[in-house]
């Protein structure tokens, strides 16, 4: 058991080894058609660092809402792959959403959780995923059958293929290295993000 100052009592798995920015950049390069929703904080920076695009919707708040917001998009846009890129803390706050998504089984919705096991924005306090919770196991228990931990880069190509195939809802819990990276800040004007997202789908702002 860890005795680090911020440690809680739960079991502490070894930290992940995947470098998050390069993983996200490669994944997005392999899924160029995907509509992307990010959770707040580091996952938004990772996605923006990979290159801004109108199909990216960055959340700066609404913690716990990324995956279920993407469910609304996925139902409305069944011919597009919808990809959530979020963190362990954000998904833990929206854990019930995994049950909601499991009940709906949207074929075109993929959730990628960049799991560093801590709350990176607020002082690196250990999250539940480094104290015993497996979000992949939670997702499977909610009926998201294709849910697994990703511990090395070798899984990336197959993951991208499944995202692009739209053949079933999935969750990938990607064990990333707990690095403290420079922040790369995406636009935070929500109205702008909304309007450009709709425009790229061919819709008016209202």
């Amino acid at each position: 058991m860890s005795t680090a100052p911020n440690a809680g009592p739960g079991a502490a798995p070894k930290p992940g080894t995947i470098e998050r920015r390069s993983f996200v950049a490669k994944l997005l390069a392999a899924c160029p058609q995907a509509l992307v929703v990010t959770g707040l904080g580091s996952p938004a920076y990772d996605v923006f660092a990979a290159g801004d695009r109108d199909e990216n919707f960055y959340l700066w708040g609404a913690m716990g809402g990324a995956a279920v917001m993407a469910l609304g998009i996925a139902i409305a846009q069944p011919t597009r792959s919808v990809l959530v890129i979020t963190g362990d803390g954000e998904q833990l706050m929206g854990m019930g959403a995994l049950a909601t998504i499991g009940a709906q089984q949207p074929n075109n919705l993929s959730i990628v959780v960049l799991d560093n096991g801590l709350y990176g924005e607020t002082g690196a306090q250990r999250s539940h995923t480094s104290q015993g919770t497996s979000l992949a196991a939670v997702a499977r228990a909610c009926g998201i059958a294709d849910a697994a931990e990703v511990t090395d880069l070798g899984a990336l190509d197959a993951l991208a293929m499944r995202i692009n195939a739209r053949a079933g809802c999935l969750l990938a819990q990607v064990r990333v290295r707990p690095d403290d990276l420079p922040r790369v800040l995406p636009p935070r004007d929500g109205t702008y993000l909304k309007n450009r997202f709709r425009a790229v789908l061919g819709m008016a702002s209202m």
């Binding site: 809402g65 279920v68 917001m69 609304g72 409305a76 929206g94 909601t100 009940a103 709709r198």
Partner: protein, 179 residues
């Protein structure tokens, strides 16, 4: 177990018909007895998608996602769920999403369960504090017009609208029976 056939009041059909005619495609909900008939009709309609939530804040985020993807959503919940949504309501104001919620009231009229009181009394203020315009219906004959006006304000005017369905409209919950 009661064998009574429950006949829904006409105003509940009015709600369904307004949502249907208004092009609502996605209906996230946390169930309430007052919404039960509308929920049944939504699930029976192949052009609408009723989606049960584990908590009401999911419905706020999902409705915003629906609009991003080009569909209209309306959310169904009861007053006790409004408190669960408060931070998620930020999404609506930040992005100026159109938003429509129909909320059955508890804790305000012939309420048997005192645990419904505090949130029932704070429902309207909670929504107004978060920038949502609140309309209320207490008479069956006003339901159609009010829901229709709310739907237009949301999706033509771009507003965030909550319609409170008074507990007196819904009627007494029968605590002595099982369903």
């Amino acid at each position: 177990m009661s064998n009574t056939v429950i006949t829904a009041p006409a105003w509940q059909d009015d709600i369904f018909n307004v949502l249907k005619r208004g092009g609502i495609k996605q209906v996230p909900y946390v169930p309430d007895a007052g919404h039960a008939h509308v929920i049944r009709r939504i699930h029976a309609d192949p052009d609408m998608r009723g989606v049960v939530m584990t908590t009401e804040e999911e419905g706020v985020a999902m409705a915003c996602g629906a609009w991003l993807g080009g569909q209209r959503a309306a959310m169904l919940m009861q007053s006790s769920g409004v408190g669960n949504c408060v931070n998620m309501f930020s999404l609506i104001e930040n992005c100026r999403f159109p938003f429509l919620a129909l909320i059955t009231m508890r804790g305000e009229w012939a309420e048997f369960n005192p645990w419904q009181g505090p949130m029932g009394r704070a429902t309207q203020q909670s929504m107004e504090m978060m920038g949502i315009t609140v309309l209320r219906v207490s008479k069956p004959e006003e339901v159609l017009e009010t829901v229709s006006a709310g739907l237009d304000a949301a999706f033509e005017g771009g507003e965030a609208i909550a319609i409170l369905l008074s507990q007196s409209l819904i009627g007494r919950k029968k605590w002595g029976e099982t369903k």
